[in-house]
Structures are given as C-alpha cells and as structure tokens.
Subunit: 224 residues, 2 copies
Amino acid sequence: MEIKNPLYKNIGAHVISSIFTIDKGKIKVLLIKRNNEPFKDKWALVGGAMYNNELIENAALRELKEKTNIDNIELTFVGVEDSLDRSPLQRMFAFNFIGLVDIEKVNLLKETTKTKDADWFSIDNIPSLAYDHNKVLNQSIEKLKEMIISSNILKKLYPNGFTIPEIHKVYESILGVEIDRRNFRKKLISQNIIIDTNETINFEGKKPAKKYKFNNEIQNKKLY
Amino acid sequence: MEIKNPLYKNIGAHVISSIFTIDKGKIKVLLIKRNNEPFKDKWALVGGAMYNNELIENAALRELKEKTNIDNIELTFVGVEDSLDRSPLQRMFAFNFIGLVDIEKVNLLKETTKTKDADWFSIDNIPSLAYDHNKVLNQSIEKLKEMIISSNILKKLYPNGFTIPEIHKVYESILGVEIDRRNFRKKLISQNIIIDTNETINFEGKKPAKKYKFNNEIQNKKLY
DNA sequence: CCAAAAGTGTTATGTTTACACCCATGT
DNA sequence: ACATGGGTGTAAACATAACACTTTTGG
C-alpha cells in the first residue's frame, strides 16, 4: 500500500548542526565553506540532506563526519524549520542540532569534495550564511544559553579541567550578563559542582590559576 | 530545478496533538476513536497527515479543528518521531504538539467522517493507542511536567480563576510529588503570582475556598 | 616595582523547608 | 456535633547578592 496523493509526500529534510567550542575563553561555532550550488562559496553550518532510509540524528552525525571529520559527539535536538521556500529545490524541513566539542581533540578536515574550508567563528562575528542558517544559528545560541545554566555542560566542554576565571568568562559571554567573581566561585565550590585538582595552569593572568574539574556525582544542576 | 534522487524525498509527516485539560482537579487528555484504516476503531491522539503545502503547526491546528472542533488554541512543539516504520504506508515523520484548554469552553465534536468518538481520559488510565501514540503521549506528559513549573500555564488552564487547593492538587498530580499546602500557598501569594479575587467557590471541601486569578504582570516565573 | 589577573570573607536579604492548630461549612 | 477540607504563622536552614582588599606572578 502506497500513498498516491502528492499532497502527502515529496518532502525532504536537511540536518544542520551548530557545533560549539570554547577557544581561549571565547565561545565559537564551526562553519564550513560550501563548494557546490546552491550557495556555492558561502559559509554555512555543517549539514546536508538526510537520506529517506536513515534516522534524522544519524543523518546529522554522518554529515558531520563527512564534512568535518568530527565523530563521537552527542547531539541535542533544537528544533525544526519548515518554511515552504527555505530551500530553492523542493520543500525541505531542517532539523537542527547542537553539539559541543573540545577544540583540542578535534582533527578538523579543512576540505572535502563538498567543502572548500572549515573554521571556528566567534558567535558575535558571524558572516552571512547559506540558506536560513543565520536564523538557525540564532536559535541554537538561544538553546545553548538554556543548556549552559545546567552544570553538565562543563564536563563536555572541559573534559580535562578548567580554571574558574576561564569558565566565569564563558558564562558571562554566553549569558550576556555580569556575574560577581566571588559569588560565582563560591557557588560552584559550596555546591560541590567542581573539584579542586591541586594543579595550576595559566589562563589569562600573570598569576597561575587553580585547575578544577567537574564533579561527576552532580548531574544537571541548575546554575542560573 | 527538481531533486531526482528518491533517497532525498517521498517522506510525509503526521501532526499529533496532546490536548490537556483539568477536569475536577484531574489532568486529562483528549483522545479520538478512529473511523478509518489503519488502526480503525482504535483510540488515538488528535492528528493526521500534513499537506506538503502547509506549515507544520497549521496542519496540527487544521486537524484539531476538523476532528474535534477545537480552535483558538496555542500549540507548543514537543518533538519529532522518525522511526522508519512508524506508519505502515510510507515513511512518515510525526511532529508532536501540546495544547491546553479550558474544558468548559470546548464544544467538542464527538463524531466526524474520520472519527467515531472523542473523549477525555485521565492520564493514568490510557488505553492502547493507534500508531506510536502511547509513546508520543508519554513524551508530551514529560513536556507538560516541564511546562507546569512555569507559572504561565495557570492562565491557560484557569482563565476564569481557581482555588489554591485545586491547583495544589494539579501540581502534585502532574509532578508526582507531595507539596506542603502552606508553603505552596505562601509562595504563590508572596511572589505575586496569583491575586485574590475576593470571591469564594466550592472545590472539594465543605468550606468554600477563596478564588484567585493569575497575575498577568508576572510572566513565566519558575515555580519548582 | 608595578600592572594584571587570581584569590578570599562577611553581612544582609530573600527563599525554602518543616511543622500544628483553628475555622467554616454540609450533613 | 462532627467530619471534611480550607486557612494561617513561625523559626531554622539555605541560597543569593553586594561589596574591597591581599596575593602571586611576568615583564
């Protein structure tokens, strides 16, 4: 039994991933430069068209691997775009995801048959992107703000530990507010969210800063 | 320019709405009994197939109106189901929504050409449903739990006011925890989330209870 | 020695939790 | 008059917010 009425089919789907990282205390997103029409030579979020025999999230993971070499990543679903004309070829849904990576651990492919470049962009300096990717990225940034208030994210962004001034700066820049240094530190320590490693590293200051790690026993605690 | 590769198309979409209401202090969901194959005579959430020239949310609103006569309702997107075999006919995404209605204001259609019955079911007594609707409903209930901790929901469920014992019971039953009566009341009043209307009505007790209404000046305050 | 960032403590205020008795009404 | 649910207050624990000086290091 097959559906004959064309009103009910002939839709496709894009999968789009906003991959974020922290680079020297600044939040950045991964963009690729397209090598094919449509939008040839435009920067874009990482993604492509889903095959109709694969699951949405698997399609997003496959595209990520093909176009950037990133794998072993957890994706979080953000939402769907469904304007009728968002793609010039036919109606395409866009399923949007967020991923977080440690920039040190990524072995980024700069070129593939479908991409001619790939790079990290500060989220306050994003060029004009292909398709509706600027809109999609804004939604992903909003979602990231919701996610960052949950302590879990520390583990994904800083698997090897972090300093308090470092994450303090990240929280302020993502949330867009000032947070008192002393209260921020006190909260993370008194609520056992982070653990002192007894090492020190240099972040931005002359004076080295203590290195902490995320406490695995605390799951998903709301920070702000 | 048209996409030729069948790998990229021939997908359709269902839109599914879990419509909740409060009936005598109990949370209930609206189900319809199907009148057509597949799943003829099975209970199901309200929904149907999206046309490929309409927006997802509009499709959900249209199906709601057609099958239950409910309109003028705000839908909240919950998520997507995408298993390859969730529909017997062809691959169909399912876009799932939540809606909240005042049971007093609904003029429910019990029968249409596509439905032979419609009724409200307590969420702890749900029959076996068509398609993957049991799974979808469970996800919607989880989302409802997230939504109920935001004060905004009071306005939608109780546009005409409510008593504190009434919503206390609803919060306990949806969240599945006990909440101290005194502290619950104190929180809502001291944080100006609700306003005394100086009327009283009977809920469950012999003694009439004070009627309150949601304070429109407070938006989206987290309760728990 | 000094500039620049890291580290630290106290107080006041607000929020949350725990807990027990009286009140108004219908039967 | 009594059973049923509605209404109320206080104290302790905890969380948040505001605020300024000292320490360590590289240059």
